[in-house]
Point group: C2
């Protein structure tokens, strides 16, 4: 069973857009291959992928194109959550059918407050409609964006009802006490990912499975190196070295900052584009970020020629 | 120009579901016709329509079926907002093409905080892609659900850039100061709707256009009567009579309460169904609500045989 569950480091893969703001499957596939070469998994259609700015049709089409171009679905944990039951079922079923090893599933995030019974009913309905032992759901706790927290009693009820389908969670609250509580849940082989590498060492020390972090788009190898070496004497130092890079990106709007860095280090201005309501960073902001990154000796190897 | 803009009372029409939770177009059309007979307009696909639990395909299909069954699109202001630029453009363009007189447009509500520039860019992109003088957008301020407020400076910028397309707003904040500020915006023929009939008289006295209220699904004629008579000596008394009905529905979870009442008065248990994460009310809750409504002498004429 374990072998079918994720551990390690995954990137919520940023989504490149063409001039008309349609998704650019070719650039996305190339970025996915680069990330895989750097040792991280692919949480495509995450928050930092601007997935909620895409339609379900666009996501299905992108997933098909990625797989057709050779990206391995066994390394993919696409975001398949939606406010809409129909969309969530459709995209999740498609991801399972195409062999994706997991689905990162936002709760329905329009109505609030919603009851624990209502959230349970939503996930149960999705699981029963997808109806596949290959469905591996990673719940997604990101209350600042959803307003709909995933609380321990809900997880407990879901894991007990669907032990083969509810296999982990991503905690993007940034609240270590909450991540710790997930790790202490006592659910067999339940995979807890923190949403930032700044908590990675702590998470692993408490039984966590890894991290799914925005900055794994730009700094994958170093984050993965900490994951690989967390039980060594070097781990604390490696964690300390990751934090300044994270802090730079966090001091700018995250999505345009990730795209600006990718654009800079690949010398490809197309990477700058975002869909509204996200806005690109100004040239001044990009220069400022670049100076800060260069002062740290930051690089994106292979991209930077 | 005026004649093409909404005023009066509209219901965010509740959406009936079949046993498999697919939308029931026939029951929806019948409820729409009942609402029209009671004198109110049709804000289908609103919050209380559970529209965010439907896919864009389901909404397009429902809209087509409603129109095919004789519901007048000139009375319809469908909710066409979405987090996804693509979905918003697609549904809005379809509604315009089918002759709907307006679109009630949520902001993209996943990312937060979003900048005013980002929201402006989103609406601008939608308007430019739909590219029709028949596009009449009513903005939708419902911060408790979206976390993305529609502030006066944003409206000002949108109205000045797109005076023929940005024609009004629904204020579901329940904050009278905010509704008042919208009415004081000074934008030519801008239509301000409050989100509850409890503010209807006040809104009309300050130049507002009417209300788009959940309880217009169940108490349409009385709300419309206040609208028709707001300048008479009876108005204050009529407002006072509306409030107790509103208060009963508000004391239960709104969507299941509206559906339970419709089910009771039409003697049709099919109306009870909701999509998760919304949950139906228990039979005990329904009985309690029924007793309270009967104590007020409440009725849904024509539905109740």
């Amino acid at each position: 069973m374990s072998s079918k569950r994720f551990s390690g480091v995954l990137a919520p893969v940023i989504t490149p857009f063409k001039e008309d703001l349609s998704p650019d499957a070719q650039r996305l596939a190339a970025h996915c291959q680069w990330l895989v070469n750097q040792g991280v998994g692919l949480a495509v259609f995450g928050t930092n992928s601007e997935a909620n700015s895409l339609s379900t049709d666009e996501k299905i089409d992108l997933l098909d194109q990625l797989i057709a171009s050779g990206v391995d679905p066994a390394l993919m944990m696409p975001g398949t959550g939606s406010c809409s039951l129909t969309d969530c079922v459709r995209l999740t079923a498609h991801a399972v059918k195409r062999g994706c090893a997991g689905s990162l599933m936002l709760p329905p995030f329009y109505f609030k407050p919603v009851s624990e019974d209502g959230l349970f009913a939503f996930y149960a309905e999705v699981i029963e409609r997808v109806a596949s032992p290959d469905l591996k759901i990673y719940l997604y706790h990101i209350p600042a964006f959803t307003g709909v927290p995933i609380v321990v009693p809900l997880i407990d009820r879901l894991v007990k009802s669907y032990p083969e389908n509810i296999v982990g969670i991503k905690d993007s609250s940034g609240d270590w006490g909450n991540t710790k509580a997930y790790n202490a849940g006592g659910w067999p082989d339940f995979r807890v990912f923190c949403g930032s590498e700044s908590l990675l060492l702590q998470n692993l020390q408490h039984g966590g499975a890894g991290c799914i972090s925005a900055t794994a788009n730009v700094n994958p190898a170093a984050i993965k190196a900490l994951y690989n070496n967390w039980q060594t004497a070097e781990a604390e130092k490696m964690q300390q070295q990751l934090n300044p890079v994270r802090n730079i990106f966090q001091s700018f709007p995250m999505i345009p900052a990730l795209k600006a860095a990718t654009s800079l280090y690949s010398d490809d201005p197309n990477w700058r584009r975002v869909r509204p309501p996200i806005m690109t960073m100004s040239d001044d902001q990009v220069s400022e970020m670049q100076s800060q990154l260069e002062a740290l000796g930051f690089d994106m190897p292979e991209l930077s020629g």
